[in-house]
């Protein structure tokens, strides 16, 4: 049963669809952050999970990693590399959301810069789980 599902997920059309979807999400997220680095830096700061001195360095580089990964997925240039990178970032982001949620922090998730930025909590966690699954599918090797 599970193998049948995996075979279906590894069909080129399914893989490509997953790659484009997760790539589009990351493209929007990256551009929103790049457009307002100060907001993203403050949102990172509010998580209080990293040393203060490294927050700006993360804020200025992470959106560009997201952007390049998104472009690789959208244009199909080493898409599995982009998908694996996106999967790794989503796992880290989700860990941050869970920790902030557990600590009772009422902070903006910072996922899409200032726009569309919900608060950390159950909804954000489940959104992230969905994106993790999508990135997982996008990183699968196709049939054959």
């Amino acid at each position: 049963m599970m193998s049948a599902v995996l075979v279906w997920l590894r069909r080129p059309g399914v893989l490509r669809t997953a790659q484009i979807l997760i790539g589009a999400v990351f493209l929007v997220a990256a551009l929103a952050k790049i457009a307002d680095l100060h907001t993203f830096a403050m949102q990172l700061h509010n998580y209080r999970m990293t040393p203060v001195w490294i927050e700006n360095l993360l804020a200025m580089t992470l959106p560009w990693v997201e952007l390049l990964a998104a472009l690789s997925l959208l244009f199909g240039v080493r898409p599995r590399s982009g998908a694996v990178l996106v999967l790794g970032m989503m796992l880290v982001f989700t860990f941050g959301v869970v920790v902030a949620w557990a600590r009772g922090l009422d902070v903006s998730c910072g996922c899409f810069g200032k726009a569309l930025s919900g608060q950390v909590g159950a909804q954000k966690f489940f959104e992230n789980v969905g994106l993790i699954l999508l990135a997982g599918v996008a990183s699968l090797r196709r049939n054959g």
Partner: protein
């Protein structure tokens, strides 16, 4: 079952990491590392360009931890500098509440005539603030400021103007509260505010202000200092809001160190609800 689960795990791992037979999408890990490094380099270059073209848009390379001065330090420094005369520390820190209007243009302490920030227009931000009003609801003991119940007899600190927020301890905050000599603002969300806030405080969530800083222009604090607070050492909303107030032009902004934790720790009670009949 264990054997099948193990086999499935290995299969998924192979599917994610092994190269396809045609080699078109090979080198998964190598490609990911290349993207990561390229992103890091471009990010640093882009920020460098931003800083070179417009210093305000780029980020500082290394973020400095902001450490606020305490009110007591500032007053001591000014006293040592002789700015306010030989006994300025005492004069600045403490003025009798019975005659606050005689020096420095302080308003008389009269909560009934207090110039409190009006709540934002209901259609714009219905829950952004709470303006305590004598007839807004049935007053409860916890919602009744001490100043209304008895003549003010405590000494009221006078807060100097400053270009940055100042940290203040409970003693100073309590004196300001008892003397009705400051506007208190809770910087947390409406939901957190409802669970427990300093009686009489306004609720202006920092997240709302961050979205629309012009909201602060509607604040009518008059000559009174503004005290921002949230709920303790883990909360930085008060500090963020205090900086937003400074940016908006207010010059006497305090951050209550410890917030509601310090307030309840000193045996004070909190009010619950949003105060607007909900």
């Amino acid at each position: 079952v264990q054997k099948r689960a193990k086999g499935l795990g290995e299969e998924i791992r192979d599917l994610m990491w092994k190269e396809a037979k045609d080699g078109n999408d090979g080198g998964v890990l190598r490609g990911a590392i290349v993207i990561l490094l390229a992103g890091l380099v471009i990010g640093l270059l882009f920020n460098g360009l931003l800083r070179a073209s417009n210093g305000e848009r780029g980020l500082a390379w290394i973020r400095q931890e902001v450490k606020l001065n305490t009110l007591e330090e500032v007053l001591a420094d000014r006293a040592a500098g002789g700015e306010e005369g030989s006994d300025s520390l005492k004069a600045m820190m403490v003025r009798s509440a019975e005659g606050p209007g005689t020096e420095g243009g302080e308003e008389p302490i009269d909560r009934s005539s207090e110039s409190l920030p009006p709540p934002p227009p209901v259609d714009e931000e219905p829950r952004a603030s709470e303006a305590p009003s004598p007839d807004a609801e049935e007053p409860t003991p916890s919602d009744s400021p001490p100043a209304e119940e008895s003549p003010v007899s405590e000494e009221v600190p006078v807060i100097p103007e400053s270009g940055e927020p100042l940290l203040a301890q409970h003693g100073t905050i309590k004196a300001l509260y008892a003397g009705n000599a400051a506007v208190f603002i809770d910087a947390r969300s409406v939901e957190e505010f409802a669970t427990g806030h300093i009686p009489g405080a306004l609720n202006i969530p920092f997240d709302v202000v961050y979205e629309d800083p012009t909201l602060l222009q509607q604040l009518e604090a008059g000559e009174k200092p503004i005290v921002c607070y949230c709920d303790g050492s883990e909360c930085e909303l008060a500090e963020n809001l205090a900086f937003a107030l400074i940016d908006a032009g207010y010059r006497r902004v305090l951050v209550y160190e410890g917030g509601t934790d310090a307030w309840t720790g000193a045996g004070e009670s909190l009010a619950t609800g949003t105060g607007d009949g909900e």
